[in-house]
């Protein structure tokens, strides 16, 4: 097995009395997409910015390919921050030219334009881009040094579903080039689709780690049956399975779908609006932290 790209040991970050990262240990293997999930203020961005070299740890150690992280390593990173404003009045093409000028051997301009689908917006003022266009430009800026490690900090936050899926497609193209990706996200579907390995972070600590399927298998053996509240109201008392009131819906947790359906039929509950879904990362997160991810 090859040496991890990052080895993180005892990493902490304090701001005065506030502990943002409280001693985390993890490795980032070569060529995977590592996802950091957690609620706002969990310490995801601080952790990632310490890996990027943007912030200095209070204590602990980060090894990049076996040696302490230094400024030279940063030339091999591509970074897309959570929110980035670019220089006023520059067009998309001029932004590319500016940032290409900052690296010793940037990717060819045309390659970046093709990779991130920027051809039609090259002459547009960067302040007048849509959310999806802006993220594609920022991704191009993160890729222009052909990085060995690509950091993406909530890259699809605020995008509409179509733009988000387009962005995922671009990331999947990059993954096929066997680059190492570190992704923080609020979107469980995004994490499940893109990440090979996930760290769930809360209060500056890692509370779960593994592949998405490993994590789900380790914590859940059941599935969820969903019924509209209007159908199920007042008819589920005494049910032998765990029932959760989720606003418009009622969720029934069960590891025996057949038995549950038989019991529902026995109570004359109409099943034409019944939905069955497997457990998700969001369920796992709620189970582990008791918090909404987007809270």
């Amino acid at each position: 097995m090859s040496e991890p790209v990052f080895q993180v040991r005892g990493l902490t970050k304090r701001y005065g009395d506030v502990v943002a990262v409280a001693g985390v240990d993890f490795d980032v293997p070569e060529g995977i997409c590592l996802g950091l999930l957690g609620p706002n203020g969990a310490g995801k961005t601080t952790t990632v910015e310490m890996l990027e070299g943007i912030q200095q740890p209070s204590t602990g150690e980060i090894l990049y390919r076996g040696t302490p992280l230094d400024r030279r390593a940063r030339t091999r990173f591509g970074i897309q921050f959570q929110s980035t404003v670019l220089q006023d009045y520059l067009s998309v093409g001029e932004c590319l030219d500016l940032f290409r000028g900052l690296y010793p051997a940037p990717l060819p301009r045309e390659r970046l334009i093709e990779l991130c689908e920027l051809g039609e917006i090259l002459d547009r003022d960067n302040r007048k881009l849509s959310g999806g266009q802006k993220q594609r430009l920022l991704l191009a800026l993160a890729l222009l040094n052909d990085p060995q490690v690509l950091f993406l900090d909530e890259p699809t936050t605020g995008l509409d579903p179509q733009a988000r899926r387009n962005f995922w497609r671009l990331i999947e193209d990059i993954k096929r080039e066997r680059k190492t990706l570190v992704l923080t996200t609020h979107y469980m579907e995004e994490a499940y689709r893109l990440c090979d390995r996930i760290l769930i972070v809360d209060h500056g600590r890692i509370i779960a780690e593994g592949t998405p399927d490993e994590l789900l298998a380790a914590h859940f053996r059941d599935v969820i049956l969903e019924l509209p509240q209007s159908v199920a109201a007042g008819r589920l008392e005494g049910l032998s399975m765990q029932v959760l009131d989720c606003g418009d819906n009622v969720e029934i947790s069960t590891d025996d779908v057949d038995a549950t359906i038989r019991e529902l039929v026995g109570r004359d509950i109409p099943l034409n609006q019944l939905a069955i879904r497997p457990r998700t990362l969001e369920d796992l997160f709620l189970e582990l932290t008791g918090k909404e991810l987007r809270g």
């Binding site: 009045y89 520059l90 000028g101």
Partner: protein, 338 residues
């Protein structure tokens, strides 16, 4: 060098496309200069100014036929020495005292208008006339003021144009994004300095040439020496702006700090009036401002024809301020808010 050029080029584009800032940088001094031009232009005024020594408040034209000379303003003076000083400074073209049996007059030997009025005086009346030559060079207020106005414009452009922009980019995260590249703080800051310096010198040179053309601005010394003075003065002011902006993350705070610096500098560096009549303490405090040294050197070059040997102290002080403030700003510089 490549990174430096890339950042400088981008900054130039931003400045040129930000029409409101560019317009203000050009329009403000133009408006000031045209306003002053309107105030001090000679159109419609008498061509000559002659002083008449008399205790009367009104001059009787019947005293002497010279007083019938057209296009000449005759002004009564009771204080002989004060009037002679005005002749010395070319503010009066001639001073005449009509005495019993003879006329004395004071005329500046370097004044063309004085020469013309002397010819007129000698051609009128039969009385004997006694000439008293006066020496002294002419200094119009506008000649003295223009360097101050151009310097003030440089000050605002250098301090606010740099300080405010750096703080805004820190606040909105653009500097953080640049920090994620191999760009160093010194490369970024020096690109800002050279970009702003080029723009400020270009604008100031154009305005200066316009003043020379429109106002017949006095320029006795070397243009290159004046350019060197402007370059060093601007560099020191830009470095001061960068020092203020090195850590600040709030535009409001930056604005307050910049105002705190610019207003005393504007009042005490001799933009509008000379500090010679003020207290020694004020004159000493004024020496901490780069603009004081820049204006002293610029006026010496323009008005007195001073050479490098005369203003080297000011230039060394400006170079020292530039280097010191640049190093300080690089040491204090932060890419992001904490």
């Amino acid at each position: 060098m490549r990174r430096f050029l890339a950042v400088m080029h981008a900054r130039n584009i931003e400045f040129l496309r930000d029409r409101s800032s560019l317009g203000w940088n050009v329009a403000f001094p133009v408006l000031l200069i045209f306003g002053l031009w309107a105030m001090f232009a000679d159109g419609g005024r008498p061509l000559y100014k002659a002083g008449v020594l008399t205790t009367a408040t009104k001059i009787e034209k019947s005293i002497h036929p010279f007083l019938d000379t057209r296009y000449t303003q005759f002004i009564p003076y009771a204080d002989r020495q004060a009037a002679i000083d005005l002749v010395s400074g070319h503010e009066l073209d001639i001073l005449v005292e009509f005495g019993p049996g003879r006329t004395r007059y004071w005329v500046n030997t370097t004044s063309p208008k004085g020469y013309a009025l002397e010819r007129f005086l000698l051609a009128t009346g039969d009385d004997p006339k006694e000439a008293v030559p006066v020496v002294g060079t002419r200094t119009r207020y506008i000649d003295w003021l223009i360097p101050g106005i151009l310097g003030m414009n440089m000050m605002f452009s250098c301090l606010f144009g740099i300080g405010y922009v750096v703080v805004r980019y820190r606040k909105n995260g653009y500097l953080k994004r640049l920090h994620a590249t191999p760009l160093t703080a010194f490369e970024y800051l020096s690109a800002q300095v050279v970009s702003r310096l080029g723009l400020v010198l270009t604008i100031t040179t154009v305005l200066f040439l316009a003043c020379v053309w429109l106002l017949d601005l006095r320029m006795l010394g070397s243009g290159l020496l004046l350019l060197l003075t402007a370059a060093l003065g601007s560099t020191a002011l830009i470095a001061l702006g960068l020092t203020v902006a090195a850590r600040v993350a709030s535009e409001e705070l930056a604005g307050g700090l910049l105002n705190l610096i610019t207003w005393p500098m504007m009042l005490m560096s001799g933009v509008w009036f000379s500090m010679e009549g003020t207290s020694v303490l004020f004159q000493k405090v004024a020496l901490i401002f780069p603009l004081t040294h820049a204006l002293t050197a610029a006026r010496a070059v323009m008005l007195d024809g001073a050479g490098l040997a005369d203003i080297w102290v000011e230039l060394v002080v400006l170079a020292g301020m530039s280097a010191g403030l640049m190093l300080l700003s690089a040491a204090l510089f932060r890419w992001k808010t904490d």
